[in-house]
Symmetry: C2
Subunit: 186 residues, 2 copies
């Protein structure tokens, strides 16, 4: 019955993305899963443990995805990244980094480290993808690839957040223009 543990992580993941880390409680998980809150404490003694598990899960999933894409040309790889965000947008969810970063200062160190680790994984992969893609002529952009990667990620992250507040069309306007900019030849 490792099933319950995985269900808890999946639900916590979704709750963090919809309500934010500090606004969800064990009751939000125990009710829909029809278990007692103590059952969650059995799998994750503290809320921090659960937070760490969710972030680890997402970091792992990102690494699995990018490993699968590694044979594709870089423009297709980047397209896959955009598609991942498109799906999140359609589900009405924001990305983990976007929802966790405002609350970052309220986290214990162990969770902060995991969030930083995850963000580094995103940035490093995107940086490599952009750098290699530019060398091969798929992308055209100025400046350092790592800086450009931060720019791309910041747009994707914020476009999901801003869509919540400014309406669903916001996401497409930002990500669409961003993608065009990268492919554009001067």
């Amino acid at each position: 019955m490792q099933d319950t543990r995985e269900k808890i992580i999946a639900l916590a993941d979704q709750l963090i993305r919809t309500k934010g880390y500090n606004a969800f409680s064990y009751k939000d998980i125990s009710d829909p899963l029809e278990i007692k809150n103590a059952a969650i404490h059995y799998h994750f003694p503290t809320k921090t443990d659960l937070g760490v598990a969710v972030v680890d899960f997402e970091t792992e999933r990102f690494k699995e995805h990018t490993a699968k894409w590694s044979g594709m040309p870089e423009d297709k790889q980047l397209k896959q990244l955009f598609e991942t965000f498109n799906r999140k947008h359609k589900e009405g969810l924001v990305c983990l980094m976007g929802t966790l970063s405002p609350d970052y200062k309220t986290f214990p160190e162990s969770l902060q480290e995991k969030v930083t680790e995850m963000s580094a994984a995103f940035a490093n992969w995107t940086s490599q993808c952009l750098e290699n893609g530019r060398k091969k002529g798929f992308f055209a952009f100025d400046g350092d690839a790592y800086d450009r990667a931060l720019l791309v990620l910041s747009n994707l992250l914020a476009s999901l957040l801003m869509s919540r507040v400014m309406g669903p069309k916001t996401y497409g306007k930002i990500s669409g223009q961003l993608y065009k900019d990268l492919l554009k030849k001067n």
Copy 2:
């Protein structure tokens, strides 16, 4: 003693930016101001009322600032916007939209509306600034000015958030590259 009311708003503003809306409590305000929590309820019966006051305050301040800048050439006006974010970054604070958007779904409608109103004020001003600036040759960018404004704001917003997690240099890398891109002539 309208002073207390203003101090409450200023402190709440800072707390929302550091801990997030759902993580701060009336005690975080009453302790440093050396008043009782009931005194805060006197000025702001509910937490929502306080949230609305903070957002209104920031929207108003933004409108005052941009009104002051309105005589400047557009490149200087945009520079002022960047300077505003630079200052926030130096103080270790994120922007209100950045911290409120992940929690947006937990807000009552009245607060949601105020946040949406504030975001519209930001986007409309930036859009106008970019459009007029491009006409006069200060800026060079492709696509609709409103879409570009969303891109710029998303980068500024997210660069403050990401700096928390990825280190303070992140802000400069993103905002620096963003600014160069806008001034760049092809």
